[in-house]
């Protein structure tokens, strides 16, 4: 999906930024660091706009960047771009505080920047959190199709480290039964 969006960049004049949340990186993944990573991606292609440079010089030398600085700089960066896509994977893996701060900040940004689109993935229980901030958010249930599972199984069987344990019949049974069973779940 990210690559698909990136492929549209030249044709449609848009900017794409993304983040992966990780249970194991709670400490590093503060809302400020995450928004900073989004901003960094957005200013990477066309350079850092002058007003962001000024704000950065002032704030960074004073006391380091804080969440409101980052939100302000992001709003400025987005206002200078056409359509901006922000994709955030595994929202449920963020620490609760970072998750709330990130959602609040994005709400603030989206409200002022109609050219922004945000896509989250996450376990279903965070959908309620997203809905709190984005009442109009569209929720899409995602599960692999039978074809997805077949492609995946094929790849896993090809990479099997003990190919001698496999024969054509067993492979055929695996390829038939597992996709059917999983899609019934």
């Amino acid at each position: 999906m990210i690559d698909n969006l990136c492929d549209q960049v030249e044709e449609k004049d848009l900017a794409v930024a993304w983040l992966y949340c990780d249970f194991l990186a709670h400490k590093e993944q503060s809302a400020t660091a995450m928004l900073g990573a989004i901003l960094r991606q957005l200013v990477s292609v066309r350079g850092v706009p002058e007003n962001i440079q000024q704000r950065f010089r002032k704030r960074f030398s004073d006391r380091g960047l804080r969440l409101p600085d980052m939100v302000g700089m992001l709003k400025t960066a987005i206002s200078l771009l056409p359509t901006v896509y922000i994709c955030i994977d595994a929202l449920d893996e963020l620490a609760p505080k970072s998750q709330q701060e990130l959602l609040w900040s994005l709400w603030d940004i989206v409200r002022e920047s109609p050219n922004t689109r945000v896509l989250f993935t996450g376990r279903s229980h965070v959908a309620d959190e997203v809905k709190k901030y984005f009442v109009e958010a569209i929720i899409v249930p995602v599960s692999p199709t039978e074809d997805d599972i077949r492609v995946y199984l094929d790849a896993m069987l090809d990479r099997d480290t003990e190919p001698d344990a496999m024969d054509n019949n067993l492979r055929r049974d695996i390829m038939r039964i597992i996709p059917e069973t999983i899609s019934e779940v």
């Binding site: 999906m1 660091a33 200013v43 689109r117 993935t121 958010a137």
Partner: protein
């Protein structure tokens, strides 16, 4: 700090266009002041600088050294914005992803509306919900 880096860059430029004897003098100055300057930028860069200095020991390399170790202001700002590296993680996800898996998602009406909708449309925010191991990251 940024002003300081600019001065270093200006000195670097001067060094390449100055007479030979001054050139040597500046090289020596660089040897003395550079690690300190770089250290003031960040620990990470300071490590790089001492490594480079030890390995090269060659003052003639300083122009390249300045350009690679001390970034221009844009680079400095970008690097200071966040320590997170989502591009690295994305390369790993791409390496694991299998062609065709999850492509159906790009054809769903929800994704298309989100992707193609007008600015300020109701479909500004999309949440893809699924249990563990349901292939959410594979869609990326």
């Amino acid at each position: 700090m940024i002003k300081c880096l600019r001065n270093v860059k200006a000195l670097s430029h001067l060094r390449s266009s100055c007479p030979l004897d001054l050139h040597k003098h500046l090289d020596t100055t660089f040897l003395i002041i550079l690690p300190a300057l770089v250290q003031s930028v960040s620990k990470n860069m300071a490590q790089k600088s001492s490594r480079n200095l030890t390995i090269t020991g060659d003052t003639g390399c300083f122009n390249n050294f300045i350009n690679t170790v001390i970034p221009d202001e844009d680079n400095l700002i970008r690097e200071s914005l966040s320590s997170l590296k989502p591009h690295e993680r994305h390369q790993n996800v791409r390496a694991e992803r299998l062609d065709g898996v999850g492509d159906w998602f790009l054809e769903t009406s929800e994704f298309r509306k989100w992707n193609e909708g007008e600015d300020g449309s109701l479909e500004q925010v999309l949440f893809c919900s699924g249990g563990p191991g349901m292939g959410k990251t594979f869609m990326w």
